[in-house]
């Protein structure tokens, strides 16, 4: 097996050998490696196939910008993870990874054929080709695309890992631990500011930490040595927290940031167990320093995507940090000084290399050093082609014309096994723009830079376009002093020798004798878009960068165009003849690098997914086999199946029992608002449609509440407990909104009213007993209470004790039966419930759930707000004009009841529906028409509630129908998928119109 590990470094522990599997084969690396460095050490460059043409692709970079080395980790159904960048994945014993996007395997695959038919796959290919015939999409195109382009596999079982969330507050957050970040963090922390420094890598130091060129020195030390000292220093600072392996995912307004901390991804399987895998930090920082650095740009030339072609600086990092050389005969192709650092490093380790420089000449100290070492430099030359299928083996270069637009002279062919490219540097302005910051374009070196720094956010270092070392330290110190209002002089005497210069020769699309149509000059490696595609999009009329991006899919892969956006923009600007700065950039959206769902969700999984509210009777319901329904956050018993009953049978039995003898409902979830104050009656007058002043103490009244637009908002029964004390009930789902709305009016419109509102929903448990035998059951529970109609009539309230515990008893009914609601302090709810059942045993007291409750009230034509209403129904639409006071001068929504729209007679109105076939049950939501033949069919309304009534032995329904009030007796049609159902419009009250049962 070849070994490309040629260098000993302090970051690789050669005493700790690590075995791992890649595409099923076992390899070895060392602790400290990433998967990418370990693969390169084994001579493996080819790591995948490109998305569209299935061209062989190799590792390009050493960081988050990596477009090609994307892999699937693990193979377990619950733990596998796609789209992991091999350049960021730290190696651990037992790691199993496989290349993505290369079915059936990386060395040979069917999609490779696309490479030969590529003239047929231009920009907008997917839009143009797979559009028709439409029927082909689902069965032919989509499966084909998915199979041949498979971008990784999602896990198919729940994630067993543990994730965590943490909320923190800091004075200063520093993002990125390179030279400028370390300086900023030190200055802040030494000035007594509580500071957090985060860096996505395993160790701090950025790219300076492995810098070893003696021409780049700080305080007479190698810059890397100087930086290591600084890191030792800051680790001692007590108010500085340093988090490595932590990357900022999103930067929101108000300096609220999300960071992902990796805790166990680098550990072997057995050490991961029972540990938190990742932690999401929710950071609030008073001030944020962005020092995210910059990433090297590739160059755009023909066949620039072969395995073995990497970014020049990455070759340097693999060598000096990981000890791995990417080849034995390396060519560096550059337009600036930074490739010379790589070249000199390689030379020192005995790796043969030469340089092709786009510039006509250059004369920095660094270049002189390279020249003196005898490194061959081809100035004013350009790479025009590369060769080699699975790995580069040679390339052609030509001389550039004076203006740089064409090539001149003869081709020179050079052999190599690796090509490093450097097109200059792109400042990582993602964080700045995510926070809402704008960008400026600097023409000198063609970079977008943060336009302005706000009072609470600043960019320093190369992400701010300050590229060379002298500038970075000097400018960082000045900016941070101003930004934090401090005067730190630690770096005043720091001496810097930097032999690099900043000049470069920027050409976005490099010239070539071959017509563009016959070249493959890749811009976006992951989505396979080329310079040709961009030009075609422009030819077809696309101008906006956002449109070109979507049409060509440039920058839309999982790397979000970290390497490609600038080139796409540059080529558009050059082609359209406009200034690049005037084009603007595409939007950088969070997350910066992909986040797992697990991290976002944290501990809120399984039973912690959502808040659950349970009544004090809940355990009894569970023990008695109840099926539950979610109503808001509440778990309400839906029905209680007995002896294997299905839902229909259970509901029919419960409904019948409630009317024949007695039923009991857990009504604890109804919203309860305690209203007190000398103006309580006046307040109720203003919020309900009906009058309240004359309600006697000890009496109850049903109320309808509207929105100011006149539409029904909520309803419920309110009881006058004493002169200035009421208890309001609301719908279960509406409770908190009603309270907010009432507070709104009290605090903002009527602050003069002496009224106090308190939510007491959870303070009381409620058992509602209904049916002809309910009075007998009540009598057993409360033997001293006079239950006669004279003393305790319908819509009245009494207090009594149940074994010394106070109870509030309301004689009110939502079923049309004689009915009592017993309220007791919540902690006694469970006992109350059991005592009721015990007392009701001899009367077959039957517990019923929400479904039966809905059925029973529908028999009586009582509405449910939110089921029979949808925010567009007035009281009149509901045929409830009787509850709207004509005498009251004002109440919420009154004025809207006679707007031109609300008095229209052809509004949708609530009606009853009876099916011609009494056994036919309508579907709730079904549309209602009068004529199925005319086209388009005129839709009149829809069914809102529908049940089979066991008490009437027929199907009943409520519906809203246009002009329904005038349609009683009329025939309508419910068209269903396979039949039309005939119905007749009826009254909304189906049972006991005379309300005899209330006093039965």
């Amino acid at each position: 097996m070849p070994n490309y590990r040629i260098n000993k470094t302090e970051y690789i522990d050669e005493t700790k050998r690590v075995s791992f599997k890649y595409d099923g084969k076992t390899y070895f690396g060392y602790e400290g490696d990433t998967l990418a460095s370990a693969l390169l050490a084994n001579g493996i460059h080819l790591v995948g196939r490109s998305f569209k043409y299935h061209r062989p692709r190799g590792i390009v970079s050493c960081g988050a910008e990596e477009p090609n080395a994307i892999c699937q980790i693990g193979s377990k159904k619950d733990l596998t993870e796609p789209n992991v960048r091999a350049t960021e994945l730290e190696l651990y014993e037992g790691l199993e990874a496989s290349s993505q996007n290369c079915w059936p395997n990386v060395k040979f695959d069917i999609g490779g054929i696309n490479n030969f038919i590529s003239p047929l796959i231009p920009a907008g290919f997917y839009y143009k080709t797979f559009m028709w015939p439409k029927s082909f999409w689902k069965k032919v195109y989509e499966p084909l695309i998915r199979l041949s382009a498979g971008l990784g596999k999602s896990p198919t079982e729940p994630d067993p890992d543990i994730y965590d969330h943490k909320h923190v507050h800091y004075d200063v957050l520093v993002i990125g631990g390179g030279v400028s970040g370390i300086i900023a963090a030190k200055m802040a922390a030494k000035n007594n500011l509580k500071t957090l420094l985060v860096d996505d890598k395993k160790i701090l130091g950025g790219s300076t930490i492995y810098q070893n060129n003696e021409n780049i020195k700080i305080d007479d030390k190698l810059s890397s040595e100087w930086l290591k000292n600084e890191i030792q220093e800051i680790k001692k600072l007590s108010n500085l927290t340093i988090k490595t392996r932590t990357s900022i995912a999103a930067y929101h307004g108000y300096n609220f940031l999300l960071a992902k901390e990796n805790l166990t991804d680098h550990l072997p399987e057995e050490k991961k167990k029972n540990k938190i895998r990742q932690r999401l930090w929710k950071i609030r920082a008073k001030k944020v320093v962005i020092s995210t650095g910059s990433i090297e740009r590739p160059l755009v030339f023909n066949n620039n995507d072969r395995p073995g072609i990497l970014l020049s600086n990455s070759i340097n990092k693999y060598l000096d940090y990981y000890g791995v050389t990417c080849g034995e005969n390396i060519i560096l192709f550059t337009n600036n000084d930074s490739a010379y650092e790589t070249s000199i490093s390689l030379h020192k380790k005995g790796i043969k290399n030469l340089i092709i420089d786009l510039r006509k000449s250059a004369s920095s100290e660094l270049i002189k050093q390279a020249e003196s070492l005898g490194i061959k430099i081809y100035f004013n030359h350009v790479v025009t082609n590369t060769f080699g299928y699975r790995k580069i083996n040679s390339l052609e270069i030509m001389k550039l014309s004076e203006d740089g637009n064409t090539t001149v002279g003869d081709k020179i062919k050079l052999s190599c096994d690796c090509l490093g490219m450097s097109g200059g540097w792109t400042p990582m302005v993602h964080m700045h723009t995510q926070s809402g910051g704008k960008l400026d374009f600097r023409d000198d070196d063609q970079v977008f830079l943060p336009k302005e720094n706000s009072e609470d956010q600043i960019s320093v270092g190369s992400c701010n376009g300050d590229f060379d070392l002298e500038n970075i330290i000097d400018k960082t110190v000045n900016k941070i002093n101003k930004f934090l209002y401090i005067n730190n002089q630690d770096y005043k005497d720091t001496k810097i020798i930097c032999s690099k210069e900043n000049d470069k020769r920027n050409i976005w699309l490099l010239p070539n004798k071959i017509p563009l149509g016959k070249t493959k000059c890749f811009i976006d490696f992951q989505n396979d878009s080329t310079a040709k595609d961009i030009k075609l999009a422009l030819k077809e009329g696309f101008r906006s960068i956002e449109h070109v991006k979507r049409y060509t899919t440039t920058g839309m892969a999982t790397d979000q165009g970290k390497l490609s956006n600038m080139h796409a923009l540059g080529i558009i600007a050059d082609t359209a003849g406009v200034k690049m700065g005037s084009l603007g950039t595409t939007t950088f959206r969070p997350p910066f690098t992909p986040l797992t769902f697990g991290t976002l969700v944290g501990r809120n999984v399984g039973k912690f997914f959502e808040v659950v509210r349970k009544t004090s009777m809940h355990e009894w319901h569970v023990e008695n086999n109840a099926e539950f329904e979610n109503v808001g956050q509440w778990k309400r018993p839906w029905y209680y199946p007995k002896n294997g009953e299905n839902m229909h049978d259970a509901v029919q039995r419960e409904s019948k029992a409630a009317r024949d003898s007695a039923g009991i409902l857990d009504a604890s979830t109804l919203g309860k608002i305690d209203i007190q104050g000398t103006d309580a009656s006046e307040f109720l007058n203003r919020v309900y449609t009906n009058a309240w002043s004359k309600l006697a103490i000890g009496k109850c009244r049903y109320g309808l509440m509207l929105n100011e637009d006149g539409m029904v908002y909520d309803d419920g029964v309110t009881t006058r407990i004493s002169e200035n004390h009421y208890l309001m009930t609301t719908t279960t789902g509406g409770a908190s909104n009603v309270l907010s709305k009432l507070e709104d009016y009290l605090q903002t419109e009527w602050p003069e009213l002496d009224v106090y509102l308190t939510s007491v929903t959870d303070h009381y448990s409620t058992a509602s007993i209904c049916g002809p035998n309910s009075k007998k059951i009540l009598n057993k529970l409360f033997p001293n209470l006079d239950l006669s109609d004279e003393n305790f009539p319908h819509m009245s309230f009494k207090e009594d004790k149940l074994k010394n515990i106070n109870c509030r008893i309301m004689r009110i009914s939502f079923t049309g039966e004689l009915s009592y609601e017993i309220n007791i302090e919540s902690k006694y709810g469970h006992s109350l419930w059991k005592m009721c059942l015990e007392a009701g045993k001899e009367f077959n007291l039957t517990p019923y759930g929400t479904e039966t409750m809905h059925l029973l009230r529908a028999e009586k034509g009582f509405i449910i707000v939110g089921q029979d209403t949808d925010g567009t129904m007035t009281p009149s639409d509901l045929q409830m004009d009787w509850i709207v006071s004509k005498k009251k001068y004002d109440f919420i929504g009154k004025r809207s009841l006679y707007r031109s729209d609300t008095i229209r007679e052809d509004r949708k109105q609530l009606v009853g529906l009876l099916t011609d076939d009494p056994k036919e049950i309508l579907e709730e939501g079904a549309q209602i028409v009068s004529d199925v033949k005319s086209k388009p069919i005129d839709m009149l309304g829809h069914v809102t509630s529908s049940y089979f009534s066991p008490n009437l032995n027929k199907s009943i329904a409520l519906a809203v129908v246009r002009s329904g009030k005038t349609m009683k007796g009329q025939k309508l049609i419910i068209p269903m998928e396979n039949k039309n159902i005939n119905v007749t419009v009826s009254d909304t009250i189906f049972l006991d119109k005379e309300n005899k049962r209330l006093n039965a």
């Binding site: 929101h252 307004g253 108000y254 809402g436 907010s740 605090q747 903002t748 001068y889 004025r895």
Partner: protein
């Protein structure tokens, strides 16, 4: 995620609050005297400004108090916070 300085509780995360739309729209004292158009003006018409906007917020998961906020909708900066019934700060008019 805004940080909102509730005038009763101090700075809290936005998730504790709910927004109540434009501020200083007074409910007419005599709605019945209004024409449909005048009532609709009160009921439906809102400025929805890009720039400095006066709006109402409710500390719904806190003290339950309603209060007023001056916010620049173009950058979400909250410029001022004041209680119900208090006069809006004049420098933002």
């Amino acid at each position: 995620m805004f940080l909102i300085n509730c005038p009763f509780c101090g700075e809290r995360d936005q998730s504790e609050f709910s927004s109540g739309g434009e501020a200083h729209i007074v409910r007419p004292k005599q709605p019945t005297e209004l024409s449909d158009d005048e009532w609709a003006e009160y009921l439906f018409m809102r400025k929805n400004i890009k720039g400095i906007q006066f709006e109402r917020w409710n500390h719904v998961h806190g003290c339950r108090k309603w209060f007023n906020v001056v916010r620049d909708t173009s950058n979400d900066k909250i410029l001022s916070v004041y209680k119900m019934g208090e006069k809006p700060p004049v420098n933002y008019k």
